[in-house]
């Protein structure tokens, strides 16, 4: 029988300071990268603009395309090779020109340079300023709504402390994903947002599995005299192989999607892959640890209050 972890007994909670440090370092690196890029890079879904995917019948130089596009003066365009040296995407900022004109002008400009050969416009996406703004607001609501939904579910199913710690772990995962996106120069688009929302739902999964185990162990009255930290650590170890295995299969699927799913799905698959990894990590190292620290902090404060009351009584 193949087995990943047999009766594992790693001290995850004991090493939580290191985990916090690692997470903070990662998130900080991501935030610095985002700050240096001048904020998250928004794709046209949110910023508005036009995206045109074109395929030439021969390999062409980016400079030639740029020269052709510069002539129509539609603002600063971004030209990127897209998975194949004959295939490119052009991103054009919002312009005064009505949307229906943009594609036609680009087509005409490209046709004027005979060196570019024949070109096929394969995809056009135009998002106007209103729609972009609407989507930004809706996106924010969607992220908040899913977090609130999960907070409520975990709080009702377990307790508020678990709910808040789950959300903290989810925020951690989202921040790591955003940082990873910025570090690899990816843009925030609708599919990426879909991936983030999925990760929000997925990341909390394993955390729930571990909490459930804590409760079950308590019900069975596992060895008396175990501290809360030890109880959590045991639960994480008991559920470790399933946490890692379930993540592993999902990781396999998303990595393959990243590699073979085509350029259009690449960003979505990337965020899912990063999210699955950080989601698993945060379940093992962060979520439980946060509850332990929180509980310790609440108890310490209660004791201080008791002492203060005792002192006041004796005085």
């Amino acid at each position: 029988m193949l087995q990943l972890f047999r009766e594992s007994n790693f001290d995850f909670i004991g090493k939580r300071r290191w985990a916090y440090l690692l997470s903070l370092a990662f998130i900080a690196a991501g935030l610095v990268s985002i700050a240096f890029a001048g904020g998250l890079r928004y794709g046209i879904d949110f910023s508005g603009g036009t995206l045109i995917q074109a395929r030439f019948d021969q390999t062409v130089a980016v400079d030639r395309i740029r020269a052709a596009l510069d002539q129509i003066k539609l603002g600063e365009s971004v030209i990127q090779e897209f998975g194949d040296p004959r295939e490119f995407i052009f991103r054009l900022p919002l312009a005064e020109v009505p949307a229906e004109e943009v594609t036609r002008r680009v087509q005409e400009a490209l046709a004027k340079d005979p060196a570019l050969g024949k070109v096929e416009i394969r995809r056009v996406e135009f998002v106007g300023p209103q729609v972009g703004r609407d989507l930004q607001i809706q996106a924010l609501y969607a992220v908040l709504a899913s977090m609130v939904g999960i907070l409520i579910y975990v709080a009702v199913r377990f307790d508020l402390k678990g709910g808040v710690a789950s959300i903290a772990a989810v925020v951690h995962d989202v921040l790591v994903c955003l940082g990873a996106m910025s570090l690899t120069g990816r843009e925030m688009s609708l599919p990426v947002l879909a991936a983030l929302l999925t990760i929000i739902g997925y990341s909390v999964n394993d955390t729930i599995v571990a909490y459930d185990r804590v409760r079950e162990n308590r019900g069975k009255g596992v060895k008396k005299g175990l501290s809360f930290a030890e109880q959590i650590n045991i639960a994480i170890n008991q559920t470790l192989s399933r946490t890692v295995l379930t993540a592993l299969t999902t990781f396999m699927a998303t990595t393959i999607l990243f590699a073979f799913g085509g350029k259009v799905l690449e960003d979505l698959a990337f965020v899912l892959t990063v999210g699955v990894v950080t989601g698993t990590y945060s379940t093992i190292y962060i979520a439980g640890a946060l509850i332990v620290d929180w509980t310790a902090w609440v108890e310490a404060r209660a004791q201080r209050a008791k002492k203060a009351v005792a002192k006041a009584g004796s005085a």
Binding site: M1, L2, Q3, Q53, R55, P98, A99, E100, T103, R104, E120, R122, R123, V124, E125, F126, V127, G128, Q130, V131, L135, A139, A142, S146, G149, I150, Y153, L190, P191, L193, A194, L197, T198, I200, G201, Y202, N205, I208, V209, D212, R242, L245, T246, L248, T249, T250, M252, A253, T254, I256, L257, A259, F260, G261, G262, V264, L265, L268, A269, L272
Partner: protein
């Protein structure tokens, strides 16, 4: 636990047969399941033929149009201003100014404040307007269109635009278009399988307001361009694109503002070869009874003068009226290619848009990219299914095989459910399926790990299986709920393609409850209980 064994086997068989029927319906049943005409659906390919593919997979164009309803209100206020001026002047009240201000307001300035009371009596005949402020000593009244009236007009404009666009799309000939109102003044148009999105956009977005106006032959073009135009006239241009050089020429005309006749009175429009200019096409039009009478009167009263035919504010042509034209027939010429002429016929037949529309969002995908996306997406699905399949088999052996069969069943049910509900499979939806493959076996992993654990504590095979399934079940539900919460929010938020992701993810996850719990449990019960049961646990 061999309770209801046959019932459970029956349920599984019904699910499998039902799914296959929905995916590959036999000829007679297809019509029954998917409605008449569904036999025309695309032929197989990599995906089952009954699946409804999104525009990003089959190619097509998705447009969100904004109807500029303010323009409707503006012209309504302008028309009312002209009417009010006319009514006042008919009563002998001098009007210095009656003009629109902003979108919904109108200033009426009387020539003298003495006629104040008479003027107010006349204004009472225009109940659509509210008196916003009055200044009796100055003889000045500010009117505003009532909000209720404005709301009615806006609503009407959007519905009219919707109807007109629907007519145009119908005449253009698109299979299964979607045209619906979105929010207050947006219109969603989805045209699958369109080969030339540019042409479709031009056709939908054209206002197509055909107007007949007399030229102002008393004002010279030079004077008009220098700004010396009478209040009742304006300069309009004829645009001609040279076919060789592609350079656009603009020829100015001085045209009287008054519209004599519009395209609303048309009865017929059709394409003809232009007899005067070989290789070019023209559009012959025929008015209805009202239009024919008016057209007869216009031509009778203006023999020898120039009549401008104006389309969307551009002069198309300005022929001289040689004699009264009684039959209500005319031609629109303008160096049209046959495609231009055909499209003009379509928009003239379908009628003008009540207000300009603006493209707020466009997503169009060519058919070749759609086909590539399907190929790559399917490759990703097949590859991840294979990898997960092998992994489960190696790690859990016989139980892994059972989970793999459950996974296959999951995919079949997922696709069949999408087909049955007419849900749309999009490219992100394919990603959702790939993700489902990874997550669906999670449920089995949870169960198998639990069974192993129970077995280690010294339970018998059957007790371990029972405990494993029942203990893991609660966890499985928990994990499903959180992903479903995310998917539901995503569905509510998303636009087309992203909605597709939410749909396939949600159905896949829900189906995994059935396949990974109900189905695998049944197989375990069949294998490990009963008289000919397996004696060793293979997990």
């Amino acid at each position: 636990m061999r309770r209801y064994l046959w019932l459970r086997i029956g349920i599984i068989l019904v699910a499998i047969l039902g799914s296959l029927t929905y995916l590959y319906p036999p000829p007679g049943i297809r019509e029954y399941l998917y409605g008449p005409g569904s036999g025309l659906a695309r032929k197989g390919g990599l995906l089952p033929p009954t699946l409804n593919l999104g525009l990003d997979l089959q190619g097509g164009i998705h447009l969100v149009l904004g109807v500029d309803v303010d323009k409707v209100l503006e012209s309504q206020v302008e028309r009312a201003a002209a009417d009010i001026r006319g009514s006042l002047e008919k009563k002998g009240i001098g009007v210095a100014q009656a003009a629109r201000q902003g979108t919904m307001e109108m200033v009426v300035q009387l020539a003298s404040p003495q006629s104040w009371n008479d003027a107010l009596t006349v204004l009472n005949e225009f109940p659509a307007f509210d008196r916003k402020s009055t200044d009796q000593s100055a003889g000045r009244i500010l009117l505003a269109l009532r909000e209720r009236e404005a709301a009615t007009q806006r609503d009407l404009a959007v519905r009219q635009a919707l109807e007109t666009i629907r007519n145009r799309v119908d005449q253009f000939g698109v299979a299964e278009p979607t045209i619906q109102q979105q929010g207050e003044n947006r219109i969603l148009v989805q045209l699958p399988g369109i080969q030339d999105p540019e042409r479709a956009k031009a056709l939908i977005g054209k206002i197509a307001l055909l107007e007949f106006k007399m030229l102002d032959e008393r004002t010279s073009v030079e004077d008009a361009l220098a700004g010396r135009v009478p209040e009742t006239s304006e300069v309009l241009y004829q645009r001609r694109v040279d076919k060789e050089t592609k350079v656009e020429r603009k020829i100015p005309y001085v045209v009287q503002k008054r519209t004599l006749l519009t395209g609303a009175e048309l009865n017929r429009a059709e394409v003809q070869a232009d007899p005067n200019s070989p290789g070019n096409w023209q559009v012959a039009i025929e008015f209805n009874a009202v239009g024919t009478r008016i057209f007869g009167e216009i031509t009778e009263q203006n023999v020898g003068k120039l009549l401008a035919i104006i389309l969307d504010g551009n002069v198309n042509s300005a022929p001289r009226i040689n004699e009264r034209i009684p039959g209500g027939r005319a031609v629109i010429t303008g160096q049209f290619t046959i495609e231009d002429a055909r499209d003009l016929v379509i928009v003239l037949r379908a009628g003008a848009l009540p207000a300009p529309v603006k493209i707020l969002e466009e997503r169009s995908v060519g058919p070749s990219l759609g086909a590539d996306s399907i190929r790559q997406g399917m490759l990703a699905i097949i590859a991840s299914a294979l990898v997960v399949f092998v992994f489960m088999l190696v790690y859990y052996r016989l139980s892994g095989l059972i989970a793999d069969v459950a996974l296959g069943l999951n995919l079949v049910i997922l696709l069949a459910t999408m087909a049955g509900f007419h849900a749309t499979l999009t490219l992100p939806g394919i990603a959702g399926i790939a993700l489902t493959i990874g997550m669906a076996v999670d449920t089995n992993i949870l169960i198998f790990e639990r069974i192993r654990e129970e077995f280690r504590t010294g339970k018998t095979i059957r007790a371990a299986i029972d405990a494993g399934f029942s203990r893991a079940f609660r966890t499985v539900v928990d994990t499903h709920v959180t992903v479903l919460v995310s998917a539901a929010i995503l569905y509510n938020f998303g636009t087309g393609p992203v909605k597709g992701f939410a749909v396939s993810l949600a159905i896949g996850i829900a189906a995994s409850l059935f396949t990974a719990v109900f189905f695998t449990r049944l197989i375990f019960d069949l294998l490990y209980t009963g008289r000919r049961r397996i004696q060793t646990l293979s997990v």
